[in-house]
C-alpha cells in the first residue's frame, strides 16, 4: 500500500476533527458563560491541539510518500511459525 494513501486517510480524519472542533468551539463561545474559565479552557484546547499538529506536520514534511508499507506487517509476526 502506498504510504500516501494513509496520509489521505489521515487528512480526511483531520478535516473531520477540524469540523467537530469548530462546532464545539462555536457552541461553547456562543452559549457559554462569559469569563476567564471559558476563554482559558478554549485556549488550552487550541494550544495543545496546535502543538500536537505542529510536531506531526514537522515530521511529515520530511517523509518520502512514494514508499510502500504493509500496516499489518507487525501483527503478521504474531502468526509466523
Amino acid at each position: 500500500m502506498p504510504l500516501a494513501w494513509l496520509l489521505l486517510v489521515w487528512l480526511v480524519l483531520i478535516a473531520i476533527l477540524f469540523i467537530m472542533s469548530f462546532l464545539t468551539l462555536l457552541v461553547y463561545l456562543r452559549f457559554g458563560l462569559f469569563g476567564l474559565s471559558t476563554y482559558g479552557s478554549t485556549l488550552l484546547f487550541l494550544i495543545v491541539s496546535a502543538i500536537m499538529l505542529g510536531f506531526i506536520i514537522q515530521y511529515l514534511i520530511n517523509v518520502d510518500w512514494s514508499q510502500t508499507v504493509n500496516p499489518l506487517s507487525p501483527f503478521m509476526a504474531f502468526f509466523e511459525v
Binding site: L3, L17, I56, L60, V69, S73
Partner: protein, 191 residues
C-alpha cells in the same frame, strides 16, 4: 456569550446570589480515564522503541505509527474537551428574584428553565456518599408551585448552604409580594 451581569428578561432590583455548576470533582473519573487514553500513544511508542526498535527504524512504519497515534490523541483530546464543555455549560443561577436552570444536552441541545423564587414551596438538600461528604457536594431539590414542579441542582458544592439561602430568599420575596398586594388593595380602596 452568557453574561451574569445581563441575565435574560431582567427583573428590577435583581441581584445575583449564586452561579453554580456541578462540583469539579465530578469530572475526576473522566479526567483520569482520558489522561490514561491520552498517554497511551506515548506509552505504546516507548514500548515499541524498547522492544521493537527494528519496527521504528523503518521510516514507513514509523510514519504509520505516528499517523495513527496522533489521530488517536487528537480525537481523545477533543472528546475530553467536549465533555468539559458539557459540564461547564450546565448552570444553576440563583438571584434574589428567580432561579435559572440551564442544561446542555449534547452539543446541539440546550434547555433553559426559569422559576420565580416566591413560587418555591419546599427545598431539600441531600449529600449521599463518601466523596460527597468529604468534598461537601450533593443535590438540591426545589418543589415549586409552577408549571415545572421540580427543579434539581445536581451535585453542586455546599448544598445545605445553597438550600438555606434559597429558603431565605423565597421568604423575603414572598413577603415583598404580600406587601405589594396589600398596598395595591389599600390604594384601590382609597381610590
Amino acid at each position: 456569550m452568557f453574561h451574569l451581569d445581563h441575565l435574560p428578561n431582567p427583573i428590577p432590583g435583581e441581584k445575583l446570589i449564586y452561579c453554580l455548576r456541578r462540583h469539579p470533582i465530578t469530572l475526576a473519573s473522566l479526567v483520569i480515564c482520558m489522561v490514561i487514553l491520552l498517554l497511551a500513544p506515548f506509552g505504546i511508542f516507548q514500548y515499541l522503541q524498547i522492544y521493537q526498535p527494528d519496527l521504528l527504524a523503518d521510516q514507513a512504519m514509523m510514519t504509520v505509527v505516528l499517523l495513527g497515534g496522533s489521530i488517536f490523541f487528537l480525537y481523545a483530546w477533543l472528546f475530553l474537551f467536549q465533555n468539559f464543555v458539557d459540564w461547564a455549560m450546565d448552570l444553576w443561577i440563583v438571584t434574589n428574584k428567580r432561579i435559572l436552570n440551564i442544561e446542555q444536552q449534547g452539543l446541539f441541545g440546550r434547555t433553559a428553565s426559569e422559576l420565580r423564587i416566591y413560587r418555591i414551596q419546599d427545598v431539600t438538600s441531600s449529600v449521599n456518599g463518601f466523596f460527597h461528604t468529604m468534598f461537601d457536594f450533593g443535590d438540591v431539590e426545589i418543589q415549586t408551585a409552577g408549571e415545572r414542579l421540580r427543579f434539581l441542582f445536581e451535585q453542586v458544592p455546599h448544598p445545605n448552604k445553597v438550600a438555606k439561602m434559597i429558603v431565605e430568599l423565597a421568604e423575603i420575596d414572598r413577603q415583598a409580594h404580600l406587601d405589594e398586594a396589600v398596598e395595591e388593595i389599600a390604594t384601590g380602596e382609597a381610590a
